[in-house]
Amino acid sequence: MVLKKEEPQDPSVAFRYPRVITYKHSLGYQSKFAHALKMGRIIATKCPVDGRCTIPPRIVCPMHHIRQTEWVDQGQRGKLLSAFKINFPMFDSRTGDLKSWDTPIVSIELEGGARMDGWCAETDTSKLKTGMVLEAVWRPEEERKGRVDDILYWKPV
């Protein structure tokens, strides 16, 4: 059905719908990963076939469909694979509000071979080069919650 284009009216009636939804879920197999983050460590699952390490950890290798039981320490540093910056306000899922994002988002290949994303301390993207070494900067230990944002950002070494 083709709708006729209508004359726009003044949409004077609009509502804000602030909502907070609280839910609980078990991290299951990924719990060990969360425990490691609380300890300031990054670990990944390793595929027994080709040795590929995955973050977030997965109980089954997505390539070989085989159970991954080995965990590998990934160190604190990694090589920059790519970086981008959002230059307009985006929704912050922790508040539901629009927020300006000053820090670039980086993809890193860790020393242990796994790849993960994070924020970068260097806000000038012209200074970011692929292959450069970045190091994790953590929240103080007492503030860590076992989430990936326990890593505050990655700073160039």
């Binding site: 009216q9 609009a14 909502r19 299951g28 540093r77 508040t95 020393e111």
Partner: protein
Amino acid sequence: MTHHDKKSVADIPNDPIVVEVQGHSNFLVTVGNTGNKFLTEIRDNKTLMGIKCPGCKKIYIPPRTHCPTCFARMSEWVKLSGKGTLETFTIVRYAEPYMPKEPPYAYGVIKLDGASTGIVHLIGGVDLNKIKVSMKMEPVFKEQREGSILDIEYFEPSA
């Protein structure tokens, strides 16, 4: 890179973690042209407006842009008296977040005179135990109206 020392992962606990997550949203929702007319008429003129289907001639309230029966585009507005008949009701006796008022209170479906459909709204001005299906009802408007369906405070039995 030489920084990497292969630490043992054996000292990292394995016991399951249950996390509590809070999702936040704060959407700005516009009610569209049809909802805009409906709500501003309530706000400015204390008038309930229905909308008439050119195909099946049904009059809908709350109004919508398209007839859900024959899918015709609707644009003919019909002024309703606001009075109607209680078709069904329920009494809420427990509290949940985002409820419009403290329980106990009653919700009802009121079929307005001249309309083909019922409108869901709060029932007030009456002892909850004395609400009866087929009661004649009329809207009670708030003094301060802001363009919300809750500018109608509730429907009460007609005198």
